[in-house]
């Protein structure tokens, strides 16, 4: 890895979170760190308070059905002053995937974490208002999981009835 100004940041994180830091990478100039779920909030507070990562970009997840732990949860933040970005990654395990919420640290994460819950079914512990955001409240299933099939949704036309099912009950 070539020497970049951000390398020292990884070294500082490595020194502080020796136990929790599992991996760090610099792919195409994008800096990522993978940490244990338990250390995410501490790392976030450190990044915000000591490294001036003040601007929250997005939160999301990636589903790897064959892996264990199955989900990678991703947050990305920027320092407006230093013009640097860092991606924080952690993992969540089936059957009840959950990770700590970063909304208490960066309030802007609120809707992004709600969206991740909505589409992946990953709970964010400590989130103030974890509800579905894009899908209806009554929706079953989590559309962005890989085992949720696109175009797999049965359709009932108004003149048809499916045995024993109400139109709203067969989604997903």
């Amino acid at each position: 890895m070539s020497v970049r100004p951000t390398d020292t940041l990884v070294q500082r994180i490595g020194g502080r979170f020796k136990q929790a830091l599992q991996e760090s990478s610099d792919f195409r100039g994008d800096l990522s760190v993978v940490v244990e779920p338990g250390a995410v909030v501490d790392l976030a507070r450190y990044l915000k308070e000591d490294e001036s990562f003040d601007y929250f970009l997005y939160a999301t997840a990636v589903d790897w059905p064959a892996r264990n732990p199955r989900f990678t949860v991703v947050w990305e933040v920027r320092s407006l002053a230093n013009k640097t970005r860092i991606r924080i990654k952690t993992t969540a395990t089936m059957p009840d995937p959950h990770v700590p919420s970063l909304t208490p640290v960066w309030p802007a994460a609120n809707w992004h974490e709600r969206e991740t819950w909505d589409l992946f079914g990953i709970r964010f512990d400590g989130h103030p208002d974890l509800r579905r955001i894009l899908m209806p409240e009554t929706w079953e299933g989590f559309p962005l999981r890989k085992d949720y099939v696109s175009f797999g949704e049965p359709v009932i036309f108004s003149d048809q009835k499916l045995e024993g099912l109400e139109p709203d009950a067969i989604r997903g």
């Binding site: 994008d30 309030p107 994460a109 899908m135 962005l144 696109s150």
Partner: protein, 407 residues
């Protein structure tokens, strides 16, 4: 909210405070003209004062992020237009920039300049449309027609270049799909010449208009710290005094060559958001003129046959070209394993694409960071304590596109 003497206040409508149990819950939308799409806001009203608001989004959720996973990188370009349907070229560029960053392709200078031209045109068209519709919400009926007339010029340019007025899908990984057609440059020059006067007309109508100022000044104030904390972006962030524009902070497509100012304001109210957008239109015209004057020649698509189709003339002469053509059309190209984030400045702010690749010819995961979604988040805070009529002004000033919010 800063009250002025002439502003209608709560007293005109009855008692100032009702007990919380008496508050009325009012659904604004999903079908409401001021939401410019389908957005539902649940308002809690104490008389005419808004005490709380809960925006309910998702009515336009189309599942683009899921659809990206089923399509090759080239096919995905057509989805990107349809998210923020008021600035499709900027979405096209953002999407291919993520793919280019992943696979590491060089984009020729002419393609970069064509991208800049199309993006700045889209920015002007989008701000024109915003000016027209946000004005319409507040009763500026004639402005709507002026704005539509001017936006039409951009749509004509889009059509002359790509054959389509809105969903241009003009980018390809490694460049753009076509060179500029004959006469396009003259058409663009006429547009650049006529626009400053048109913006002046608009400003003469609105900027110091007492009704316009009364409806916007001091309304929906977002302080500098609040703007950063709530993650708003684009003109909303700059109206609150944060000097952040992707084109300046992290130049892409050669923006570092052009001389332009980042439009900034200080107060963070609706009026400043209006001023920032008008100023941005003027700056975009400056960029257009510079990009046009310095338009480089040469190819508009990379020569890398692994990602870009060979020129048509080669197909009848070269077997290799036929093979490349067949491979690219039937299965596309593969990216390396990894994840990247690429971002551009859309008229609404930072539009980002987080692309995860597992080494196949399709994105494994494509997360879009939509600026409208981020900008809508502080609505709850911004409308607390204002009058219902001001909610319209505030929502208008945010310039969100529901297709971009819901994806």
């Amino acid at each position: 909210m800063a009250e002025t003497e002439t502003r209608v206040t709560q007293e005109a409508f009855g008692p100032e405070h009702e007990p919380e149990a008496e508050w009325m819950e009012l659904n604004m939308g999903p079908q409401h003209p001021s939401t410019h799409g389908v957005l539902r806001v649940r308002l809690k009203l104490d008389g005419e004062i808004v005490r709380d608001a809960d925006p309910d989004v998702g009515y336009l959720h189309t599942g683009f992020e899921k659809s990206f996973e089923d399509k090759t990188y080239t096919q995905g370009i057509t989805f990107s237009d349809r998210m923020d349907y008021l600035a499709p070229p900027i979405n096209n560029v953002g999407f291919v920039m993520a793919v280019e960053k992943l696979i590491g392709v060089e984009v020729p200078a002419r393609a970069q300049a064509i991208r800049v031209l199309m993006m700045e045109l889209a920015r002007i068209a989008s701000h024109e449309l915003w000016l027209g519709t946000a004005g319409l919400d507040l009763g500026v009926y004639s402005g709507f027609f002026y704005a539509w007339r001017d936006r039409e010029l951009v749509l004509d340019l889009n059509e002359a270049y790509s054959g389509v007025r809105m969903m241009t899908s003009f980018t390809r990984v490694g460049g753009v799909a076509w060179d500029l057609p004959d006469g396009w440059i003259d058409q663009l020059q006429r547009f650049i010449d006529v626009m400053p006067k048109r913006i002046d007309d608009f400003e003469a109508m609105l900027t110091s208009n007492p009704i316009w100022r009364q409806r916007l000044e001091g309304i929906g104030v977002l302080s500098r710290d609040e703007a950063i904390e709530t993650g708003v972006t684009g003109p909303m962030l700059r109206a609150s005094g944060v000097d952040y524009d992707v084109r300046k902070a992290f130049p892409y497509c050669g923006y570092e060559q052009y001389d332009f100012q980042v439009a900034l304001a200080r107060n963070g109210d609706c009026y400043d958001r209006y001023r920032v957008r008008v100023q941005e239109m003027r700056e975009s015209l400056k960029i257009l003129q510079q990009a046009l004057d310095a338009l480089p020649g040469g190819p508009w698509l990379t020569n890398d046959r692994k990602v870009a189709l060979p020129p048509r003339a080669e197909l009848s002469k070269s077997m290799e070209a036929v093979i490349h053509h067949f491979r690219l059309v039937s299965e596309g190209f593969k990216g390396p394993v990894g994840d990247v984030y690429a971002f551009v400045e859309s008229p609404r702010g930072e539009l980002g694409f987080y692309l995860v690749s597992d080494g196949t010819n399709k994105p494994y995961r494509m997360k879009v960071r939509p600026p409208s979604f981020c900008n809508l988040q502080p609505l709850k805070k911004m409308v607390q304590g204002v009058l219902v009529a001001d909610v319209i002004a505030i929502m208008g000033s945010m310039d969100f596109i529901l297709g971009d919010v819901d994806r």
